[in-house]
């Protein structure tokens, strides 16, 4: 049986993990490779590296990191952040990334999704959608949730799939950071209306939240700080989900 995926997300700046990570059993919490190895060992099903570097040296550092991750980590990983061209993706995949995630560049120029899918295959094209609940419904926002794009989340999700996305990473900006749970309604609605897998992101605070979002229809769930700060340790989370009849690898 295909299992639901649990995906820790690591924010990267200049080749280092950004958020303070509290782990007693690793030497250098800022080293993405060491943290990634620990997560892989604990049962992470995949990893996402989100690059938030804003310098000209960006590509080089990121590519070096991707190469190191691919060298030492034997589970799949996705790289996102600032990807806007076929050439950006080519170098990341050549160095061992399994998938890339595009966000604002796809909103800016939706043809990019098709270009990437036809060049590299849909299986490595994840489109990240940041959505917020508004009085009119769930809309797509860009620039870290500050700019209303005018797009409806469900319509945009359908469009990116038509254009060749192989997966959707759906982040609810309304839930992100609250630790009150994922946005179950929009996650379920999108997941049930597109043919590709949907990763839920934003709002995870405890084990029950993961169970809720999988029951709502998510194919995978992503979180960052609750894993980094060991508030929800991975092995216990997977055991809890398995006990609650979710198909999970553990």
């Amino acid at each position: 049986m295909l299992t639901k995926r649990i995906i820790p997300c690591l924010d990267i700046k200049n080749g280092r993990t950004v958020k303070g990570v509290r782990f007693e059993d690793i030497r250098d919490a800022g080293d993405p490779v060491e943290l990634a190895a620990l997560y892989a060992k604990q049962g992470a099903d995949e990893l996402v590296f989100l690059d938030i570097t804003a310098t000209n040296e960006k590509r080089k550092t990121l590519v070096e990191l991707v190469r190191e991750v691919a060298r030492y980590i034997d589970i799949p990983f996705t790289v996102g952040g600032g990807i806007s061209a076929v050439e950006d993706v080519e170098v990341l995949l050549q160095n061992g990334a399994d998938k890339v995630s595009v966000n604002s560049s796809a909103i800016h120029r939706p043809e990019l999704i098709t270009e990437l899918a036809s060049r590299f295959g849909s299986q490595c094209v994840t489109v990240a959608i940041d959505t917020k609940s508004t009085p009119e419904g769930w809309k797509v926002f860009s620039k870290a949730g500050t700019v209303d794009t005018g797009l409806w989340a469900l319509e945009w999700a359908k469009e990116v799939v038509e254009r060749g996305a192989g997966e959707i990473l759906l982040t609810s900006m309304s839930n992100d950071g609250t630790k009150n749970g994922f946005a179950l309604d929009i996650t379920g609605e999108i997941s049930n209306n597109v043919i590709v897998p949907v990763i839920a992101s934003g709002g995870a605070g405890n084990e029950q939240h993961f169970l809720d979002v999988f029951e709502a229809g998510a194919d995978a769930a992503l979180a960052a700080s609750i894993f980094h700060f060991q508030e929800v340790p991975l092995p216990g989370l997977k055991k809890f989900l398995a006990e609650n009849k979710i198909d999970i690898r553990c």
Partner: protein, 193 residues
């Protein structure tokens, strides 16, 4: 031991190289016929779309060379499907080495089939030491049905071929290089053949 990875610009070559490196093995990435013929083991990775991959193979006449090989050969993911007969992806004639078709998953399931799934009905030296229902990582939208050449099955929800074997040609639908310790074990088993 000389290990060669077939280079046709459509494989996730670097990940396979790193997976071999973790096993302490070195490999050459090449499209040169003599290099490939003289290898002890040949690995044939692949990601992307079937018809463009077949076109890429024809550039260097690899479509004619690969079926003639006699050493242990391992196709991975699209590399497995390329060994089959005909694919519904782009209505493509594949290499025709393993007499099995490649079909598209029914619309009832999410496509791609992406994530960790169980391996069952294991029967091959490739799976020595691997327990029934072990997990492996899959990403694919097309599949080979279960036939007499199936050496491992997986289900989505219907059973399909997670691995095939025909003579010296072994092939896995999942990514050995991304399937954790079990994937590494399977890759080591191939090197031991």
């Amino acid at each position: 031991m000389k290990i060669v990875i077939v280079d046709y610009k459509a494989g996730n070559v670097q990940s396979v190289l790193f997976a071999l490196e973790r096993l302490g093995a070195q490999a050459t990435v090449t499209s040169n016929a003599e290099e490939i013929q003289s290898a002890d083991k040949v690995i044939f990775p692949g990601v992307g779309e079937a018809s463009s991959a077949m076109r890429a193979l024809k550039v260097n006449n690899l479509d004619l060379l690969l079926p003639t090989l006699t050493q242990p050969f391992l196709g991975v993911c699209l590399g497995m499907q390329l060994l089959c007969q005909h694919s519904e992806e782009g209505d493509t004639e594949m290499l025709g080495i393993i007499p099995v078709p490649v079909k598209k998953f029914e619309a009832a399931v999410k496509v791609p089939h992406m994530g960790w799934n169980n391996l069952h009905h294991l029967k091959s030296d490739l799976f020595t030491g691997i327990k029934e229902d072990e997990y492996a990582y899959f990403v694919h939208s097309f599949y080979a049905p279960v036939t007499e050449h199936t050496i491992a099955q997986s289900s989505y929800p219907e059973p399909f071929s997670a691995a095939l074997q025909y003579k010296n040609f072994y092939a896995v639908q999942f990514h050995t290089e991304k399937s954790g310790p079990a994937g590494a074990h399977i890759l080591q088993n191939f090197l031991n053949l």
